[in-house]
Point group: C2
Chain length 479, copies 2
């Protein structure tokens, strides 16, 4: 219950975020350091996210499966960059069933290795390809600087792992899934993410190409929101994923992986939330419409509840996720604050006067106060509200897009770059050298976010060193 | 692909099962001892199971959440019976992020402890009750004698954990979920399970009452298919789940838990399967109808494929899960065997003559050979097939029920009991003493399965010791 106010975003964005996640009951701290409990309201949001993604995965030909959470430590040694990237983060099971294990087992930090091992068993011929498997589950990366949803030791995600007969098909898959993530983020979560290539420094351990979608939070920091990787034959060679091609010769498969995690919940909170609490995009909101009946006595109550129940039934029948808040131990004002904290897109209030007039009071979560409030007829309410949900969804995307565009700058000099990165992003020509990337990071704490797939025409000069540059890149401080 | 024949059930039931699970690609062995990989076909079946259950859980007021997979070892010490039951099965993480942990962490074998800990934080007042949370995930119980789906170290399941203000409500919840499991098993999986109380010996570690549903496999062994437990205040006391009741006094909550796992896949295989392979109940089958086009040349192919695609579209539009097998590298006979191995309930064959006659050949998986084959009109095919799917679902349940009833005996003496238990179940009066239960187990390897909630009228004498008995119990050898 939302009894105390949040700090404002302007006062303390980090503390606003932490308290909001706790007060809205999305998540709680677990008794194990670095871990979180995703509470029912947070999990209901995640279920809507998973449903929207899973539908897209299946429409693009993928199937789900489940691979063990425990992986022999020796598997990590097989791909050199992979082990360097993940060894420091592993949680290790050394004892089982009361005795010490012969070989320690890692709790999976990601599943390329164990899935690669199984693919080498399953893939024998070009006819077995492509293999397009996704897995929903959790992984563990040892991490002590916890931030709920954004950085936790155990987190929930999906990881797609595919194997292909040739490079073109594998690259096509990597781009396809990047597009699936972008489509999901923009059209379901109202997150105007930017897609592009990660720099070599920022690549996934073992990948030849990593692509990402990056979002701008309201504190203007970037959040990497999903990634899609092309491995070439790196993992196929490490795990001997070979097949007989059409010419009957043995050939290594080309593989990809791609993942999106519960981090996206953090992106939704930090992109759309306001000082009153969460603002959830209607398409993902666990509750899209809350109905608050308002009455002073039993006589009023019975009249008001009759209308509230009828409206509930109408909206539900029209496919909306709707709830009546009939608690009798808290005030209406308390209820309003409570559902604002939880980010429910539309609130309908039904009082005795509304019963008389055949109206309801309607409040939009995305426009707090008077601006978002109106009185509408009970007649045709399902259609009014479902139209409004679409309008709110669009408005959230537009607001976030405008905010993003207003805060991406095109600095003309390195000094200007440094200034811009104090409170915004830069979209700048870059010579693609690690030295310039490292200099920016050292001077500003900002990193390269990604290099857009679609580049502006022509060439420029690197904003850091002034040498010729072929690509523009986003620089930003990131979570 | 199903190139080699299975051993028959009569020859070697255990080997029939193992090979069937592998050949039908439900699951595979993992590189970590005791673990399995659930392959896409098996996971699609599990997804249908989870959807049918999740719907029932939500309809009965439950919500989902996610608790960490790692649990401090000290949590297990808090409930005496629980630690005795689970300590020998724990997998223990001793190292994380490169260093030894201060306190070792167990990978969850079940989540009563960590959920109890969180409930003690969340539950303060009677107004916070009941708490009705379910979790989907996997757990780990160290186990070396692997049998795919039936006994694996890591397995997938759901675990419901609820807290209530009083005993009656908690008991009601335990029974409600037992009924939900029974309804699911009977009406979705066509498993004629028997519900009842477990004996004290067979109870869950820490439970005051354990109830179960038990199924009879075709080898006449029993498989415990789901359990629902009442804990009284055991876990509430161990984890200090206390609330202010309506009289403003501190009171311990009453808790329950209930679970169903991927074991149920094993139950489906062993209840319905035959010597040709899986026989899946239509309501859960990942593919309900497979269409096999039959042709000898391109001219025939184009005519036949046109009908196959039209039938596919009609059946899909009618809500059926349907697939066209248009592989061109295997024979029709191979395809028939392949889909029989995978247990697809209905096969439709479309050949050139069918195109001329406006018919299709239809084969029921539950009646192999001539008996299950017929020619039906293409007109109204969606309605014909959807009716048939219902008929097959009913027929599977009836066949399994008849088999079950024919193999439950009422032995008149202890000698007869021993004989009966060699190849069937006994339903016998029992004095409820641990001594008699242990004697049966020692002499026959059979255990008490459960004591039905609805008992026959009157009393009897214990089939073991001859003393007066109030209850009848199922004895059977079990998985």
């Amino acid at each position: 219950m939302a009894e105390e106010k949040l700090p404002t975003r302007a006062e303390n964005f980090a503390e606003w975020y932490n308290q909001l996640v706790l007060k809205s009951e999305l998540a709680d701290y677990a008794p194990v350091k670095g871990c979180m409990v995703v509470r029912p309201y947070g999990w209901a949001l995640w279920e809507n996210i998973t449903a929207a993604l899973d539908k897209r995965f299946k429409e693009t030909g993928h199937v789900n499966a489940a691979f063990p959470m425990l992986i022999p430590m020796s598997f990590f040694e097989k791909e050199k960059e992979h082990v360097e990237g993940f060894a420091p983060e592993l949680a290790v099971v050394t004892h089982g069933g009361g005795s010490e294990l012969e070989e320690p087992l890692a709790v999976r930090p990601t599943s390329e290795t164990i899935i690669g091992h199984m693919y080498s068993k399953w893939i024998k011929s070009w006819r077995d390809l492509p293999v397009l498997i996704n897995q929903w589950g959790s992984v563990l990366r040892w991490e002590m600087r916890t931030k709920l949803f954004l950085r936790t030791a155990e987190f929930y995600w999906q990881e797609g792992h595919t194997a292909h007969a040739d490079k073109d098909e594998a690259l096509e898959e990597m781009y396809r899934m990047l597009d699936v993530y972008t489509d999901f983020a923009v059209n379901e979560a109202a997150l105007p993410v930017l897609k592009g290539y990660k720099s070599e420094t920022e690549r996934f351990a073992g990948a030849q190409i990593t692509t990402s979608i990056e979002g701008m939070m309201q504190d203007k920091r970037a959040l990497q929101s999903a990634t899609s990787h092309y491995f070439g034959t790196n993992f196929a060679k490490a795990f001997e994923i070979q097949f007989l091609n059409k010419s009957n010769a043995l050939q290594f498969a080309e593989t990809t992986s791609w993942g999106l995690s519960t981090r996206i919940v953090g992106a939704i909170v930090m992109t759309h939330g306001d000082d009153q609490g969460l603002v959830l995009p209607p398409r993902l909101a666990p509750i899209q419409v809350v109905i608050v009946p308002i009455f002073k006595n039993d006589d009023e109550k019975s009249k008001v509840m009759e209308v509230a129940e009828r409206v509930f039934a109408e909206l539900k029948a029209a496919g909306m996720r709707v709830k009546v808040d009939d608690r009798d131990n808290v005030s209406s004002g308390f209820k309003f604050n409570d559902w604002e904290m939880r980010g429910v897109p539309v609130r309908l209030e039904v009082g005795p006067k509304d019963v008389e007039k055949g109206s309801v009071a309607l409040a939009r979560r995305d426009k707090p106060g008077r601006e978002g409030k109106s009185f509408v007829s009970q007649a045709g309410l399902a259609s009014t509200v479902s139209g409004l949900l679409v309008e709110i969804q669009d408005a959230l995307l537009k607001r976030a897009t405008d905010f993003r565009d207003a805060n991406i700058h095109d600095p003309k000099s390195y000094d200007e770059l440094k200034k811009v990165l104090e409170n915004g992003w830069a979209f700048s020509w870059w010579c693609e050298s690690k030295e310039c990337e490292a200099k920016v990071k050292e001077d500003t704490k900002a990193t390269t976010r990604n290099i857009p797939l679609d580049q502006p025409e022509g060439h420029g000069t690197c904003v850091v060193c002034g040498k010729p540059a072929k690509k523009k890149v986003y620089f930003a401080k990131a979570y």
